[in-house]
């Protein structure tokens, strides 16, 4: 009988503890840190930008299961809402995992270009967006998302309306994130051609952290682009032993020659930048 009493009282204890914890967490909600996480989702891209309980997810890797686990690890457990999802372009290694996010999280907005893919998976994904009643915002050049504390996420490419071009990579959304002194350039899968367009466009692409375009493929990361962006850190979002041979050794060589610190999701796992203060450098974990 004593045994039973112990079990019951511990149940009640846990129950009240969780309620108390809930309150503590809610008061912590006003946390002002910015976190930029390059999620290790295997071969593909998924970037989570988090400010307190607000999240923006840029791309979602290939596998819904892996993405959900990663989100579960990086988003507080009580927060089942993702404010905005951005799809850079309709390649499966960038949107494949997102359908599961729509199933499991409350998503408010989705931002994507007009680019489409002529396959069933993409069609299903678009249908799902309609079913879930999301606000479907097109990615427009110069569109800004401004956070509470002077954090700005700005779309800098595509310049205009996306024609339904064959190469979805060339229509990839490119974004710049600024937080005080810190800046990130998120390049999707753009090729050297688009990189040069950006270099010559006069848009400010000089940043601290560069997400290397197209998982370090040899058709991206041109010299002029690396020079113009002049990052201190380069992030390569890539799966271990992928069949594409990403990242290419020439790209790694180029980065090393420029003394850029290289972070790879296949070797380093999730790469987390925590930014506490607009006057301080973001710290990597």
């Amino acid at each position: 009988m004593r045994n039973k009493k112990v079990i019951y009282s511990s149940l009640i204890f846990l129950f009240f503890m969780s309620i108390a914890l809930g309150f503590i967490i809610f008061s912590l909600k006003k946390n002002k840190d910015i976190k930029v996480v390059f999620l290790d989702v295997g071969q593909g891209d998924a970037i989570l930008i988090e400010e307190g309980s607000n999240q923006i997810l840029i791309d979602g890797g290939r596998s819904g299961r892996t993405l959900l686990e990663k989100l579960g690890e990086n988003i507080p457990f009580w927060d089942r809402k993702i404010e905005t999802i951005i799809v850079t372009h309709p390649d499966a290694d960038h949107y494949g995992g997102l359908a599961s996010v729509l199933d499991n999280y409350e998503v408010k907005n989705i931002i994507k270009t007009d680019a489409v893919k002529e396959n069933k998976e993409w069609k299903n994904f678009e249908e799902k967006i309609i079913d879930e009643n999301l606000e479907n915002v097109k990615s427009i050049y110069g569109m800004n998302i401004i956070f509470a504390n002077e954090t700005r996420l700005q779309t800098i490419y595509p310049f205009g309306k996306v024609e339904n071009a064959k190469d979805s990579n060339e229509n990839s959304v490119v974004m710049r994130l600024d937080f005080g002194e810190n800046s990130f350039l998120l390049t999707g899968d753009i090729t050297a051609k688009i990189e040069n367009l950006l270099v010559n466009s006069g848009v400010d692409i000089d940043v601290d952290v560069l997400k290397v375009a197209h998982h370090g493929s040899k058709n991206s990361s041109s010299d002029s682009f690396l020079k113009a962006t002049s990052p201190e850190d380069a992030i390569i979002s890539v799966g271990a032993k992928n069949s594409y041979g990403h990242p290419h050794k020439d790209v790694l060589e180029k980065l090393k020659n420029r003394l850029i610190r290289i972070w790879r999701t296949d070797e380093d796992g999730d790469i987390v930048y925590t930014c506490r203060n607009i006057n301080e450098k973001c710290q990597v974990y």
Binding site: N3, L11, G72, F77, R80, A99, K120
Partner: protein
């Protein structure tokens, strides 16, 4: 040796098991079978008044019966005609699709008892009973590694063909019956859990409640197997026993007699098996769990050899191929056997009667089960988890409470969302702890050892020693009485 009824029963049923076992491993010469038939009859005729002789000749017959039973199924798996053309069929899904990380396994019937496994894309919304159009060229499954007989593994469930890259289109909606209704409740409960608990904790939660580690990512699945914890997400006698224990407590709280509560628990187990869709693993778990429960209720854990044997024989009559080609079957049977056979030692020296919910009980039961299943795990997966015992001790104790809160959360999700959330959060912390333990232990470099040359000899030596130990225990036990 005295032959009482229970011993005769034991010998006869064991003969069937041995028959199935023999034919699983060897081609048996038809002349040997005739020889045995003649031998059986001769012995019987010469000496039919002797009880031992009758038993012996009956045992031979039943041994042959076992051979005949499995031979029928093995013959079925041979000489499967190949398809040289694409097929275009409209069929119903006959099992709940199994979601993997990159695809889902859908099972349809080509003709009676000839099933086809269709590997469909994950984004197709497919459910049990749906009518689908399948265009593909069925292939005979290939074994990709020498260790794992994938072809026979599928064949034990009557699956003889596989379509790796089919075109699948849903053409009609669910065929509604009681089974789809029950599955629907299960799926809704899972959705309720997913709504309040994030991944991967939610996947573990659903695995604990309904079985299966499919919700976990590959990385985490590996971590579970490295730490020897996969069994908590497999439907096993273990989680069935926990569910039953809760139902008994619940029944007693409702004011039932212990005996009535026991039947309530049995009914609950039955409902559980139905709910997760009658997979053979659950039926097995249900049987083994019920037996353990029954034995513990009667306080004679050690004396249920015959009941276990009967359960095994019944399962083998239904599906004889599982003995060799279903590792789940072997593990489930051996774990139960381990718990039962080792219990006399523990009860004598440590804890008194087993009740299954105390710390000492859990540790001892884990050890017993592990000793009996370890060789099978090493033989098949070539790994020996060093941290398994530690992981089990750190985790198993709170599994029942975790299951309770997950269940309450899933249930209250139907009625009142905030309540589901509150239960879910408690469950979350427990699940989070469990997953953290698994991850930390799995990340240790020495958490598991690779054992490559264990082989059949290892199996024989290990089980030989166990057999001797068990005989020794029961002998000393009998002497004291």
């Amino acid at each position: 040796m005295l032959l009482n009824k229970s011993k005769i029963f034991f010998i006869l049923f064991l003969s069937f098991l041995v028959g199935v076992f023999f034919r699983s491993l060897f081609q048996i010469n038809i002349w040997l079978i005739w020889f045995l038939v003649v031998l059986g009859i001769t012995i019987f005729i010469l000496n039919y008044r002797n009880k031992k002789v009758i038993t012996f000749s009956l045992a031979i017959c039943i041994f042959l019966l076992g051979i005949w039973r499995i031979d029928f199924n093995i013959k079925n798996t041979e000489n499967i005609p190949t398809f040289d053309k694409e097929i275009n069929i409209v069929v119903n899904i006959i099992k709940e699709p199994e979601q993997k990380e990159w695809y889902q396994n859908v099972i349809v019937e080509l003709e009676k008892n000839k099933r086809l496994l269709v590997r469909a894309d994950l984004y197709e919304d497919l459910n049990y009973g749906d009518e689908i159009k399948v265009i593909c060229k069925p292939e005979i499954p290939q074994n990709f590694s020498a260790d794992f007989d994938y072809r026979m593994y599928l064949a034990k469930d009557n699956i003889y063909y596989i379509c790796p890259k089919p075109i699948v289109e849903k053409t009609g909606n669910k065929k509604k019956n009681i089974y789809s209704f029950v599955l629907n409740i299960k799926n809704k409960m899972e959705a309720n859990v997913n709504r309040v608990i994030p991944q991967p904790e939610a996947a573990l939660a659903n695995g604990l409640l309904f079985g299966g580690d499919e919700g976990l990512s590959k990385k985490l699945q590996e971590a579970f197997s490295k730490t020897g914890m996969t069994h908590i997400v497999a439907v096993s006698g273990y989680n069935v026993t926990i569910i039953a224990e809760y139902l008994m407590i619940f029944g007693i709280l409702l004011g039932l007699w212990r005996r009535q509560a026991f039947y309530l628990a049995l009914f609950g187990i039955f409902l559980f098996v139905v709910m997760i869709g009658f997979p053979s693993s659950a039926i097995r778990a249900g049987l083994m769990g019920s037996l353990l429960l029954w034995a513990m209720k009667n306080g004679r854990l050690a004396n249920i050899d015959n009941a276990i044997l009967l359960a095994v024989v019944v399962m083998l009559v239904v599906n004889p191929l599982s003995l060799r080609w279903d590792i789940g079957f072997q593990l489930s049977f051996l774990a139960t056997l381990g718990i039962v056979k080792m219990s006399p030692i523990w009860e004598k020296y440590f804890v008194g009667k087993m009740k299954a919910l105390g710390l000492a009980d859990i540790i001892l039961m884990t050890i017993s089960a592990q000793i009996f299943v370890l060789p099978i795990i090493i033989y098949n997966f070539h790994t020996l988890s060093v941290v398994s015992l530690l992981a089990n001790i750190l985790i198993l104790l709170i599994i029942p409470i975790t299951m309770l809160f997950v269940f309450l959360s899933a249930l209250s999700g139907f009625i009142f969302y905030p309540l589901s959330l509150a239960f879910g959060w408690v469950a979350y912390w427990l699940l989070h702890y469990e997953i953290s333990v698994v991850k930390i232990l799995a990340s240790l470099e020495w958490s598991s050892l690779e054992v490559n040359n264990f082989g059949v000899i290892g199996l024989i030596i290990w089980y030989g020693l166990l057999f001797w130990l068990v005989c020794f225990i029961s002998k000393t036990d009998n002497k004291e009485i």
